[in-house]
Symmetry: C2
Subunit: 197 residues, 2 copies
């Protein structure tokens, strides 16, 4: 019953996600969100309650449409020993793109962690869960690559790889070469025969 919406929620959230990714939560004004989504503010507030509600939806969409597809091979039942290397090498290519068209704004969630809204406990929990998810996926990739290593060594290597990724995404905007360097050195660790001497 009632009038049908003239928009597709998925497309709206996807547009909002792009804007938040580019401009950050504080930097994406509601009027810019109106332009990006094609909805006017009354529809936005009707559908999502607040700018914050749309942001939450955009984060969910980011995880579902950007993060998890990228991690798919690391989340599979059988993990390819090359999967973790391929993942980091792919991100390295993206941040190195000279035109900067592919991954110009780093990671929506890393950017969020460094912004004021990260003081909101719910937002902090989402970013923290994202880091856990990265760590779990990377851990599986590293276990597949170094099956004979100790759990402690794999744990350290996993955290180092996650740190290299987070740092690369944090600095993509200001220095793509440096970001690629972080990933290159993480790859160097993964290309050794054993994780720890």
């Amino acid at each position: 019953m009632g009038r049908l919406p003239r928009f597709e929620t998925a497309a709206v959230v996807s547009s909002a996600r792009e804007l938040f990714w580019r401009e950050g939560y504080e930097g994406a004004s509601v009027s810019a969100l109106q332009q990006a989504t094609g909805l006017n503010s009354s529809s936005i507030y009707h559908a999502f309650g607040s700018k914050r509600g749309l942001f939450d939806a955009a984060i969910e969409d980011y995880l579902a449409s950007v993060v998890r597809p990228g991690l798919a091979r690391l989340r599979a039942e059988q993990v390819d020993p090359e999967a973790i290397v391929d993942y980091l090498a792919t991100v390295r290519e993206l941040v190195l793109d000279p035109a900067g068209h592919t991954l110009p704004d780093g990671c929506l969630l890393v950017n969020t962690a460094c912004s004021g809204i990260a003081r909101d406990p719910e937002v902090a929990a989402v970013v923290s869960a994202y880091r856990s998810e990265l760590a779990e996926s990377f851990g599986r990739g590293i276990a597949a690559r170094f099956p004979e290593a100790s759990a402690a060594d794999r744990e350290h290597l996993t955290r180092t790889c996650v740190a290299s990724l987070v740092a690369a995404l944090a600095l993509t905007r200001v220095d793509g070469e440096a970001a690629a360097g972080f990933l290159e050195s993480a790859l160097a660790l993964l290309r050794r025969p054993h994780p720890i001497a």
Copy 2:
């Protein structure tokens, strides 16, 4: 000639630096800066030209008063082989502080890199130079610790340590334990007898 200022520039910039660190460039409003510094807006604009001018001064002060003193032992002529370990261990303690009173907001420059103002080329250059400065200092610490390692190995280890620091500072706000974990794993690399097997 002319009336003398009723404030000390150093104290004003230091207060502004704290506010920008806590709230970010966009998040620190001019009226909040008035409260923090004790100056009213006309004095701020007279002395610094713009909010952005005060921000630039705050960044300079951050480098001079926070970053470089911390790196002092790594910038000395003779670098202690323990200096790089001590540095990372100290940061680890700071981000782990349960009350979060010591380093609650990560790094002013990392936060800046993840915000909208990082698209300004001058700001990007300052953050990029900060990363270079970190890398050079860490490189010296690692050369002192692993004098017999190859240049390539030291380079990789340096970048991995810088990445671990940057990632820890990026996530301090949302997950201090995870930030400490990044540093812990970097320390594990440094505590091995040789950087690469």
